[in-house]
């Protein structure tokens, strides 16, 4: 199961959301408040902690996947 997609779908309340190409620039709902909600939910789902700089610098699903450090099935 794509855990990251589950988090996105839950935060944005969009059950069919495809996330792979999403960035903060091409997805209007991904504003600064949604970003913090995503980070909170990702930290809980993946049992990771991000630094303030990592939170601020992350602008795409691709970058989030790298940050989480899971290569397959995330």
């Amino acid at each position: 199961m794509d855990k990251l997609a589950v988090v996105f779908r839950d935060v944005f309340d969009l059950p069919n959301l495809e996330i792979d190409d999403l960035t903060r620039d091409n997805f209007a709902l991904w504003d600064s408040l949604a970003h913090v909600k995503l980070i909170i939910e990702i930290e809980e789902a993946f049992n990771v902690k991000f630094t303030i700089d990592q939170v601020a610098d992350t602008r795409s699903v691709e970058e989030l996947r790298k940050l989480i450090g899971e290569k397959d099935g995330v």
Partner: protein, 140 residues
């Protein structure tokens, strides 16, 4: 630890004038400010208070379909945030950051507070906190 004073509780509504009538007519609130449009917050806001109460109630509504508040309203609105007045906003942000809050917006001037700056943070319980620079006695 920074000195915090509860400034207001923000309530997300569809329409400020309509909600205001309900709070004043049904619950006895008094109007404490004009209706402001804050383009940075993409919102209309107006402040009320109960007689003798120092904590304000802020009615907040999206200023259009593109407002960043529109999505929250789709989920039902209601109590949205708590706002603390602080003497030094940067110091307070650092303190909140040290205690699990993530910064949503750095300090920005707010129309309703005559340009005094506000900042937004959220903790892991999804508590949305607004900080506002403390004003003078006659300020909101």
């Amino acid at each position: 630890m920074p000195t915090l004073r509860t400034h207001h509780v923000g309530v997300l509504v569809k329409d400020v004038p309509k909600a205001l009538k309900s709070y004043t007519n049904d619950l006895g609130y008094e109007v404490r400010s004009a209706l402001f449009h804050d383009p940075i917050q993409t919102a209309f806001v107006q402040f009320l208070a109960l007689p003798g109460d120092s904590v304000l109630l802020e009615l907040v509504a999206p200023d259009g379909p593109e407002s960043r508040l529109t999505n929250g309203l789709k989920k039902g609105g209601g109590i949205n945030h708590i706002c603390y007045a602080v003497p030094a906003i940067e110091e307070a942000i650092l303190h909140f950051g040290d205690h699990g809050f993530m910064s949503i917006h750095p300090p920005q001037p707010a129309v309703a507070f005559n340009g005094r700056r506000i900042a937004w943070l959220m903790n892991r319980d999804h508590l949305l906190v607004e900080l506002v620079e403390q004003g003078g006695t006659n300020d909101l």
